[in-house]
Amino acid sequence: MARLTIRLLTPLLALVMVIVVAIASWSCLLLILLVDAVTAPWAALRRRAPQHRPRSTADASILVVSWNGQHFLRTLLPSLARAVAEHGGNHEIIVVDNGSTDGTVEWLRAEHPAVKVVALPENRYFVRGNLAGLEHATRDVVVFLNNDMEVQPGFLAPLLDGLRDPRVFGVTAEVFFRDPQKRREETGRTRGEIHNGWLKLAHVIPSRDERELAFTPTFWAGGGSSAFDRRLFLELGGFDHLYDPFYLEDTNLSYQAWKRGHDLLFTARASVVHEHRGTSRKVFGDEFVDNMIRRNQHLFLWRSMTDLRLVVSILGFLPLTSLVRARRPGASLARGIWFELRALGKALPRLPQALWKRCASRRFYVRSDREVSTLSASVRRYRAAGRAELGALPKPASDGLRILVMSARMPRLDTDGSWSVFQRLVALAQHHRVTLFAFVEATQDDRAEVALRSHGIEVVTCVRERNRSAGNLHHAVPRRLFRDYGAAPMQRAAQRMLEGTDYDVLQVEYVEMAHLLRGHLRGEPAVYTCHESLVLAALRKQQKARGLARARAAFAAAQALAYEGELLREYRAIAALSDVDAAHLRVSEATPVRVVPIGIDLAQWNAPPNAAIAPATVVFVGYFQHEPNVVAAQWLVREVLPRLQKSVPAARVELIGREPPAAIEALASDAVAVRGFVPDLAAAMAAATVIALPILTGSGVRGKILEAWAAKKAVVATPVACEGFAIEAGVHCLVAAAADEFAAALARCITEQTTRTALGAAGHALVAERYSAAASAARFTELYREVVAR
């Protein structure tokens, strides 16, 4: 009965919450707009440029606040003493005792006489405790440490090195948890962004580049493992009392520094081991701490965010976003609503104080909120902005480039046409430093990753998942892209990869990846490989459709035209695999579109010598989850084969390829073998009399024609299948569009051995001359250099 009552009351409670939050947040918005209208012109007139003063980084004051944490200090202080001795500077260690009752002060005086002890009569918590200690600090640099940390060897030098640049306000160390099994929700490398109408703050796992670089920008430097310029720390107001008793005071301080033109860096070369929230959660409980964090998030937004659009969107939509956030894991909605209301209620009394500080600091701001978010998140953008030196990555050999390749699927040698990407990457990796980010299926094996890594390519993967969110309400995005490549975790992973990689050029493979990265590439040196023009594929589908399906296909074609055009705007150059695709891409004149053919590595093609050829066997190879291959196979079996059998009664068809759907399996008969996946494709092709490419729909290039030529096989293809290759019909392959012609061409190849041999040899020679993987990689490299130079 009680559960039923709660269920019935929950929607009512939600409505009440929306109304209360709407009144509160919209009133705040009005107040903020009023205050900004008055102070913004004044601030613009009295704008002050940031002052970057030199400082002494030879030594530091190291400050630790502790409350009943003698057991933590027993671990921290010896490790700190070692780090100090190792660095060799004249450092001072200050421990602020927040009125402990566990004998910390006496123990410190007895066991660590070199440590300065500031004994406070009562617990002043984190913010005021640190400020009390800071009064006793005498060095230019102050290092703040939580008492439940253990510093690692070499901790001090990187922090102090980072502060040598006067533009840098703080440097933070990497954080590891004592329990290595624990999820790393605190790493030291931080990022902040406005996401779905709310400030999202998060620690992220440092990427390979972020580890290899001496420094990386970071959104905020944690107050428990960072070094700051003491003078600037005080000028910025230190840890703000607004956030008493704890949490987000360090975020606010860092944000103020960023907005005023100072930088915050992260270094993986200094590290600490953290017990993780050893004190506050034990003392106050998780619920209280989480509620404080939420309250302080409100205060942070009111106090520091000044971009008008952001402020309006955040506070305008707060009633709805609060409702979304009220759904907390492991708690009922009613409890979540109460949680949100309490946090907002606790924040409101501090609104005047937040607004006052907002006005006072506004004239110092030289960066917008968006600039801060971008600069602090992306290594490449920070470097491009000409800020503090981050250090260098290992140079690729012989003037090579650092290439980040982002692919919608893992390039594989044995599944689909992605083998051409695989071979191109391997060829590129011989001269460049290549990092590949690709999506994989949950059930996919890691053979391709292992193979790529063996060629020196760094491979980062993310499991693809279906997008189950409501959206795309006005059909702006083609449905397949929205459903299969629209999940928020996939977007986050791709974005994080972009931010955490220091690349010279970004290569985006497949339209699905372009869709995921939409909106993140402005100004980036990005090249898009168009494997298949969405528009061309949709137009061809429309031509084949009849009735209502034709109207739907026309809508899909218009949708593809508009969306593809919008996607391509963000790229500096486009590599189309065929000239037919290139002609269908709607991009501005300023964006070069280059036709770069795919290539095959003939050395990888190990066809068995003198393999027995099955008589009158026509082979079609295709990945059967790709619809054009299904249409092609159906046409071959239903339209071509009966005509072929009139002249060659023994003719049979073999359909080879992964994941044949029911529509393909239904084609099996005495004359048609559906073989599915074949582990040794070279042997299967070698046994074929002729290879058929009856492609009628889709776009892009068909790598299978290169595979057939690599196997020295005669090929009969439709004009669509030949697109993108410089083919001389009748010399390299027989080309036929209609079923009758196609059957006649197949019959000719089956019955005339000389024709077969000549076609196979000419095709093989063409591949060797023009379509090698190395040649393809070289053409891409030219394009990259052009993009980098622009």
């Binding site: 269920r7 759904r327 189950r468 969110s469 409501a470 959206g471 795309n472 309400l473 006005h474 059909h475 702006a476 399906a549 809508f555 218009a558 949708q559 035209l561 508009a562 969306y563 055009g565 919008e566 189309a576 000239d579 037919v580 695709d581 290139a582 002609a583 269908h584 891409l585 709607r586 991009v587 501005s588 004149e589 964006t591 070069p592 579109v593 280059r594 036709v595 299904v630 759907p661 029911a662 529509a663």
Partner: protein, 175 residues
């Protein structure tokens, strides 16, 4: 009797248990068609022996899939509405294939018959499940309704406008 089981989206052991329950319900002598996912087809080859198995990924469009099932004129359709992480449209297909009798296994392990002409058991089930339904599922349902009605109407002029804003095609395709 010609029966069809909608096994999707059950997986692994759940699917095996569900299949046994369906089989018992349909009777040993029934000629059975099973709609199952790829994983189940691989996992349950012995259980599926003698059944016609239809993959749960329609090729050739959803309409064609439903039409094909309607053509087979099933006497009985069995489906499980036992809840899950998200809404499964395939579970509704059981009501659309024109089977003479549709029987649904609910989350309490009880069977009930469903007919469009007498929708009360369906409504009762929907009402009972509504409080447990995730907000996301409800949002998605509203989203889908909007997308295929007002959204579609608005999409046409928006699409035309977006197409007009595109740069002209370059016949040569090269810069």
């Amino acid at each position: 009797m010609n029966a069809i089981f909608f096994l999707t989206p059950a997986r692994g052991d759940d699917a095996a248990t569900l299949f046994v329950a369906f089989r018992a319900r349909a009777g040993a002598e029934a000629s059975v068609t099973v709609v199952a996912g790829d994983a189940d087809r691989a996992w349950l080859p012995d259980e599926f022996a003698g059944c016609t198995v239809v993959p749960d990924k329609p090729t050739g469009g959803k309409l064609a899939f439903v039409r094909e099932l309607r053509r087979r004129r099933f006497d009985k359709a069995l489906v499980a509405w036992t809840g899950g992480d998200w809404f499964q449209p395939m579970r509704l297909v059981a009501l659309m294939i024109g089977a003479q009798r549709v029987e649904i296994l609910d989350d309490r392990g009880r069977w009930f018959a469903a007919r469009w002409s007498a929708p009360w058991p369906l409504l009762r089930h929907a009402l009972r499940r509504l409080p447990q339904t995730k907000a996301d599922t409800i949002l998605r349902a509203f989203g889908a309704l909007y997308r295929w009605s007002i959204g579609l109407v608005l999409a046409l002029p928006l699409l035309a406008w977006r197409c007009l804003m595109l740069p002209p095609a370059r016949p040569s395709g090269r810069a």
